[in-house]
Amino acid sequence: MKILTGNDLKTGAVVWWTGYDWSIHVEDAVDVDGEADAIAAREEGARRVNGPYAIDAQREDNGGVRPAHIKDRIRALGPTVRPDLTLKPADPNAGNWVI
């Protein structure tokens, strides 16, 4: 699948396109195949997102979404060297998903 990501203009937070809005959770991302450019242009024009771009990703068995590139997996989770600052501070194995 293709998903759309970027950073929130005001806060810089990493966000993913959910079909009608932006979420900080990658598992909320939806397939945007074919529409990526149009959504990106519209959302950027409305200043809801900064620097949106489409990436390859995979739907996981547990319903999660796994970006194809490690860089976007680190964006989705947070820095691997500071698990306490990631989106899943309580999950000691969260980092394994990145690598």
């Binding site: 950073n7 203009l9 810089g12 937070a13 620097g51 964006r75 820095p79 691997t80 500071r82």
Partner: protein, 544 residues
């Protein structure tokens, strides 16, 4: 230390107001991202992996304790309780909100700080020797010259849209502790035969994808022509530096393509012309600035005795302390490289503590080093043990300066959007490995530097051992380099051969150190042995 007068304060205050207005216009849609980006970059604001990142300038690496406290307050108030000290003597915050950025700059301005020109295609923060004003081997304090250049380069209207970033370092000692020849301009304050001070200009050094060592283009520029000569160097670059390819846009490429002699000729021509233009501040201005850097009130009869009966303390003194020019005093380095820690990161509490200790023990002064450590430059030897105990209790007493554990590492893929691979975990694993095997001491001075991509923010070209993260079909991979050095005998590291995965690179570093241990002769450091025996034995051990 330099104190702002009403003019300097007006400049930073104006900058805050300007950026507040620009940010507002961006949020209202009156500025596009393309238009806003160079503006925010010139205020140190990047968009990074997780959020905006703010790089705050620490001009020539010098901080007062009030400024250091403010850095901690910003970490707590606007970020996530920590900051990252960088190889360019600045500090970066990783979790900044665009809407907060103007307020942060306003807070910084209250302690005479800013983020002006810490990024973007302009003259960046001027770096210098972290031991300036304290080193036993300096002929002058380099900071007044750096401050003079800071004022000249701040908002210089002709040089705010250069072909590429421009980094200047100023030193004034025998030993180069600032990697001066790896800067766009390296300035060494020297004495001529008549005993007068002047500046030697080294132009066209740099790292990145085409590392180059700057040649000396002028041996002696009199102090009352320093600004004019710098302006001439910059004008030639602004006019002729390449703009067709951003990877060829640094001044090192221009100097290389024109040749040092032709570049120098053009600078001299421009210099002759600019000398007629009255752009040089009077020497009285340099004297005014110098007065700010007068020695602190050292105690005249301070004792040189040190009780080294405590072995932990003795080791720290040997490893982390450096001779001071003033009898009875010493330079104390605080390692931000605890074993297994994140190189250069410090928590708000640690930053506050270092600020307090600077106030109590170092005449209110701290320095940031290009090795991502902190220095208390003026500690009375009689106070040293008490200082060490407090540092040690806070996890800041690690005795590993310039050892294999004192790793320079860029933020890498954990934070940086340009990265190919993570740097920090590699640094953590290496320092752990050597601490566990107890080899750190045996190896002595060994400078290990890691960058997460070819941009070389972690100075990997200049490490005795360098590591470069690359992307191999979507998987992190690490190349090993040997033989780099950033000091007076600057050299660039050579790649050993095919890269390694994350665990492989840790093993490869260990293998390289084993080759050194097996071959070293009396008193040789890793670098010396490498230079004597060459790459072959290392290759053999790594790939043979």
């Amino acid at each position: 230390m330099y104190k702002y007068d009403q003019y300097d304060q007006a400049m930073v205050d104006t900058r805050v107001a300007e950026f507040r207005d620009q940010t507002q216009r961006r949020l209202e849609g009156k500025l596009s991202e393309d238009q806003f980006k160079p503006l925010r970059l010139q205020n140190g604001l990047y968009l990074q992996l997780h959020a905006y990142m703010l790089r705050v300038a620490v001009p020539y690496g010098t901080l007062s304790s009030a400024q250091m406290h403010m850095l901690a307050d910003i970490a707590d108030k606007y970020d996530r309780g920590y900051g990252h000290f960088t190889t360019r003597q600045n500090i970066q915050y990783n979790w900044i909100k665009l809407e907060d950025a103007p307020d942060i700059l306003a807070d910084l301005a209250t302690v005479e700080m800013h983020a002006i020109q810490t990024s973007g295609n302009c003259i960046r923060n001027i770096s210098s020797d972290q031991f300036a004003g304290a080193a036993a081997d300096e002929i002058a304090d380099p900071r007044p010259y750096a401050e003079l250049l800071r004022q000249w380069s701040s908002f210089h209207p002709e040089f705010l849209a250069l072909p590429r970033k421009f980094k200047i370092a100023v030193i004034a000692s025998q030993t180069d502790r600032a990697a001066m020849k790896l800067h766009d301009i390296g300035i060494r304050i020297v004495k001529n035969e008549a005993g007068e001070l002047g500046a030697a200009f080294y132009v066209g050094g740099g790292m990145g994808r085409t590392p180059m060592i700057a040649p000396c283009i002028k041996e002696f520029v009199p102090l009352d022509q320093l600004i004019t000569y710098s302006e001439a160097c910059l004008r030639v670059y602004n006019r002729y530096g390449r703009r067709d390819n951003k990877y060829k846009a640094r001044i090192k490429i221009l100097v290389h393509e024109l040749g040092k002699d032709e570049y120098t000729r053009q600078v001299e021509e421009e210099f002759a012309h600019l000398q007629t233009q009255g752009i040089e501040p009077p020497l009285a201005e340099l004297e005014r600035i110098k007065a700010h850097f007068a020695d602190p009130a050292f105690e005249a009869a301070a004792s040189d005795d040190l009780d080294l009966s405590d072995p932990g303390f003795a080791l720290w003194v040997e490893r982390n302390c450096v001779a001071h020019k003033q009898p009875g005093y010493i330079i104390a380095n605080i390692s931000l490289k605890p074993v297994g820690g994140i190189p250069g990161d410090a928590s708000a509490e640690q930053i506050h503590l270092m600020a307090d200790l600077a106030k109590a023990y170092s005449f209110d002064e701290l320095r940031v080093t290009h090795a991502q450590n902190i220095v208390l430059p003026h500690v009375k030897k009689a106070d040293l043990h008490a200082l060490w105990q407090k540092l040690d209790a806070a996890g800041l007493g690690t005795a590993n300066l310039d050892t294999v554990e004192d790793i320079i590492a860029c933020p890498g893929l954990d934070y940086c959007s340009l990265a190919n691979a993570r740097s920090i975990p590699v640094a953590q694993k290496i320092s752990q490995r050597f601490a566990e095997t107890g080899k750190t001491e045996t190896l002595g001075e060994l400078k290990l530097k890691i960058s997460g991509c070819i941009n070389a923010c972690g100075h990997h070209h200049a490490g005795h051992i360098g590591i470069l993260g690359v992307d191999r079909k979507g998987v992190e991979n690490y190349q090993l380099l040997l033989g780099g050095c950033e000091g007076d005998d600057t050299s660039l590291g050579q790649i050993t051969g095919p890269g390694f995965d994350e665990d492989g690179i840790v093993g490869a570093v260990e293998t390289a150190t084993n080759v050194y241990l097996a071959n070293r002769q009396d008193g040789e450091r890793f670098l010396d042995t490498y230079r004597r025996i060459g790459m072959a034995p290392f290759k053999e051990a790594l790939y043979g």
